[in-house]
């Protein structure tokens, strides 16, 4: 566990949510088909777990934030809280 767990997360963390979700789905399918060697199944299970965590983290991190574009003295756009609601 430790080996893969140390290696995969940095890699998994670079994945977009969609890519991670797709990979997780394909891992589950692969496992369900049952044509994977036991050792490989352990490895991909661990990867699946990392992917799941990655996806969950992304989802949990989502929060509503509304900024408005304003312009500084130089006319460059910058964001400030919009306070619309």
């Amino acid at each position: 566990m430790s080996d893969t767990a140390e290696k995969s997360p940095p890699y998994v963390s670079t994945l977009s949510f969609e890519a991670a979700l797709k990979e997780l789905e394909s891992i589950v399918e692969k496992l369900e088909r049952g044509d994977v060697e036991l050792e490989e199944s352990i490895a991909i299970y661990e990867r699946g777990a990392a992917l799941k965590k990655h996806c969950e983290d992304k989802l949990k991190a989502a929060q509503m934030k509304v900024d408005k574009i304003v312009f500084d003295e130089d006319g460059a756009p910058k964001a400030e809280p919009a306070g619309l609601d």
Partner: protein, 510 residues
């Protein structure tokens, strides 16, 4: 009266009169808005545009100065119905009055639709509507840039729907969505979002939205500048203008056309709760598969291990053999080595020429002592026999007078004895002498004394001509000493080796 009144009339210059007319007209009308059909349209080399505004019965000249004319986002052409706004003024140089146009726009739905069709054809011909140009929208955008009015229902609808589905970071670029300035603001908002490079600020999805309204209200989204800004956007762009039935130019170039602003929010993000459920499901499926797989593997393993003998049982025989073999290994090796080493020392000791010589010397000494002992024994034996003989002779002499016959018999016996003793003596001497000769013949020094020589090489005695090669350093041993020599140049080794002991002769000696 006529002449009086004529004369009473103040006399004006043409310029004074013309200026007065100008002042009157400008004062009376100031700013006008006129609906007209375009007549002749001429763009002068200077960039100023001269156009005739007319209806069925009248024509008024109009002029659009270069600055305005260059900014028209439609092409004024003859027959187009327009609304012109501007100041009424005169051109004294030609006795003309005219409208100085400061705003010109197409008038009426028909005209607008015609204009829209014209623009659509133009942009389509440029390929801006091609499907291949459309960029895929991100699955979950990190940041959504919204170009719309900061007030009103549209932004609220979008934010609420986003918040319901997938709370997101929204950057609002406030613009007017109606009126003369709207198109320019919308276009620069789109390109403005695209020019943001700060990754913490740059959106990865744009929504350009407006609520429903008349075609005139939505017109700014039909402006070419807006459509081009949307087409040039590197960031995927969703357009959501008006209601589902309203198609504006930006809808043709956007990457996705949402029917409404709310629809844009729905297309922009997935539903977070559903994704959560999906992931929980997937992970649950994965865990249960794993559990099942482990169970199955464990069952298989148990069954298989029952069928197997225990590893100890499997290996015990081999262990025992290994133990026994390894117990013997050390001593066996040592014994073998010491035996071999003893044999080696024995043999190598014996192999040395010096050993051969000392052996020969030992043999010689042994032979010598044997010879001495033999001679001594012979002498002793013969003197004993002689003493015994004398004793017997004395006893015989003492008895001689008594019997003659016995004396004669004794005489015979004595003679025989003497002969026997002599024969024995001679045989022994012969054997000794032959042994001595034999010894002499094997003494290498003796052979050397007869003119033979030994040839030594660095690796020992040369026994064959083949042992020698041209140029080899050799030592030739004669009976009286050694001489160093070298085997001759290119002559065949057989010839060079002829001189020293020929193997045949050497063999003959033994």
């Amino acid at each position: 009266m006529a002449s009086d009144s004529l004369s009473n009339l103040p006399e004006l210059t043409v310029s004074e009169l013309s200026g007065a007319v100008k002042r009157t007209i400008e004062g009376a009308f100031e700013r006008v808005r006129v609906r007209a059909e375009l007549g002749r349209v001429v763009t002068a080399r200077s960039g100023h545009m001269y156009l005739d505004l007319k209806d069925e019965r009248a024509t008024i000249s109009g002029v659009a100065w270069k600055g305005l004319a260059a900014g028209f986002n439609f092409r004024p052409e003859e027959g187009l119905e327009v609304i012109a706004e501007g100041k009424l003024s005169t051109f004294p140089g030609q006795s003309k009055y005219q409208i100085i146009i400061d705003r010109l726009e197409p008038a009426g739905v028909g005209a607008l639709m015609a204009l829209l069709e014209e623009r659509k054809k133009k942009l389509a011909a440029e390929g801006l509507f091609d499907e291949a140009r459309k960029k895929p929208l991100p699955y979950i955008p990190e940041r959504i840039g919204v170009v719309t009015s900061p007030t009103g229902a549209v932004i609220r609808d979008i934010l609420h729907r986003l918040s319901d589905r997938f709370p997101s970071h929204v950057l609002l670029w406030p613009v007017l969505v109606q009126g003369e300035k709207a198109a320019g603001q919308i276009a620069s908002a789109i390109s403005g979002f695209n020019s943001i490079e700060d990754p913490k600020l740059r959106p990865d999805l744009l929504i350009v939205a407006r609520g429903g309204g008349s075609i005139e209200d939505l017109w700014c989204f039909n402006e070419e500048v807006v459509a081009r800004a949307a087409a040039n956007s590197q960031i995927p762009l969703i357009s959501a203008v008006g209601h589902e039935t309203d198609w504006t130019l930006i809808d043709f170039v956007s990457d996705y056309r949402a029917p409404t602003p709310t629809g844009a929010a729905e297309r922009a993000v997935p539903v977070r709760a559903e994704l959560m459920t999906d992931i929980v499901n997937l992970s649950g499926r994965m865990s249960s598969i794993r559990a099942r797989q482990f169970d199955r593997a464990q069952t298989l393993l148990r069954a298989a291990s029952r069928a197997l003998r225990t590893p100890e049982a499997l290996l015990s025989g081999f262990w025992q053999r290994l133990d026994s073999a390894s117990a013997h290994l050390g001593p066996a090796l040592r014994n073998r080595i010491s035996a071999a080493s003893q044999r080696y020392h024995r043999l190598s000791g014996r192999l040395q020429p010096r050993a051969l010589r000392s052996l020969t010397t030992d043999r010689l000494k042994h032979l010598d002592s044997q010879q001495r002992r033999a001679a001594h024994a012979l002498r002793r034996a013969s003197s004993q026999k002689e003493a015994e003989l004398n004793r017997l002779a004395r006893r015989l002499a003492a008895q001689k007078p008594q019997t003659k016959a016995p004396a004669e018999a004794l005489e015979t016996q004595l003679a025989r004895l003497s002969q026997a003793a002599q024969r024995l003596n001679e045989r022994k001497r012969d054997r000794l002498v032959s042994a001595f000769r034999m010894l002499e013949s094997v003494n290498p020094k003796g052979v050397l004394a007869r003119g033979y020589a030994l040839v030594h090489t660095e690796s020992g005695l040369a026994r064959r001509a083949g042992d020698l090669n041209p140029g080899d350093a050799i030592q030739i041993e004669f009976a009286d000493g050694k001489k160093a020599a070298a085997v001759g140049g290119k002559a065949s080794p057989r010839k060079a080796a002829k001189k020293p002991s020929a193997p045949g002769k050497q063999g003959d000696l033994f």
